[in-house]
Amino acid sequence: MVDALISIRRLELRAFRAYLAPAPFEFGQKKCLAVLGPNRHGKTSLIDGLEFMFSDDGTLERLGNRTVQTKAGPVALAHNGAEAAKVKPEVLIELLQAGKIAKASRPAAGTKRPRPDAVTAAKVQFMVDPIIRGYTLRFFVEEQTPEDRYKAVATWLDLSPLVEVQKSLRALRMAVKAEAEDQKPIERLNAALKKSHR
């Protein structure tokens, strides 16, 4: 057995993106989850919370590391009303692995927004980036060949050895079939029999 799978039990956003008041999200009850809701009701902020928590630089890809013309920078992580409401912008997470729950939080304001060790330890076990963006998905579906997609999925799921087994079985089947259908030994035998009857 390899490491037990990690699951995210809970995520809480505090003064983070669209959420000023603490917004807890429980993930422990269902295996699959879809987030549905009208526009501007915080669906993206939830995904932002996940991206931020696991990010290397404590920011979001679309915000960037500093405020420039095209990117708002990490200051945009905090809710606009955080300071006035005196709520510390942060994201909290609970991870479950091998029966143990690890709780951690990451500050979403200030120059240092260190990633908690438990989250870093979880991230190194990811085989696939937990956030798959629309353009990545479009490339995956529209640009790649079915073979490339199959190979990529097998690699993500650590199934490459099984794909090799599948290939070997196919090659073996063809080789044995060709051997069984090879008429040359029968022709040689027939020729030998004819000679011996002369």
């Binding site: 057995m1 295996k31 650590d158 199934l159 050895p161 099984l162 087994v165 073996l172």
Partner: protein
Amino acid sequence: MPDTEEKSQTPDAFLKDVAATLQAGVGVDFDLAKILAAEILVSKPSADAVNRAKAAIIALAEKRANPPEPVHG
């Protein structure tokens, strides 16, 4: 799924299970299953695994086609 965890299995362990299940299966050609288990159903097969498996299958077929003469006492 209230806080339940799934256990993952390495491809190697999975293939060993497949090989063991195959060899223990009713109506399965045990000798053939043994060849597959040894050459193909492994996570790191040799470069010529397919050729080796083919040769072993042909040798098995030849052995079965030419059973040893019964000894009359």
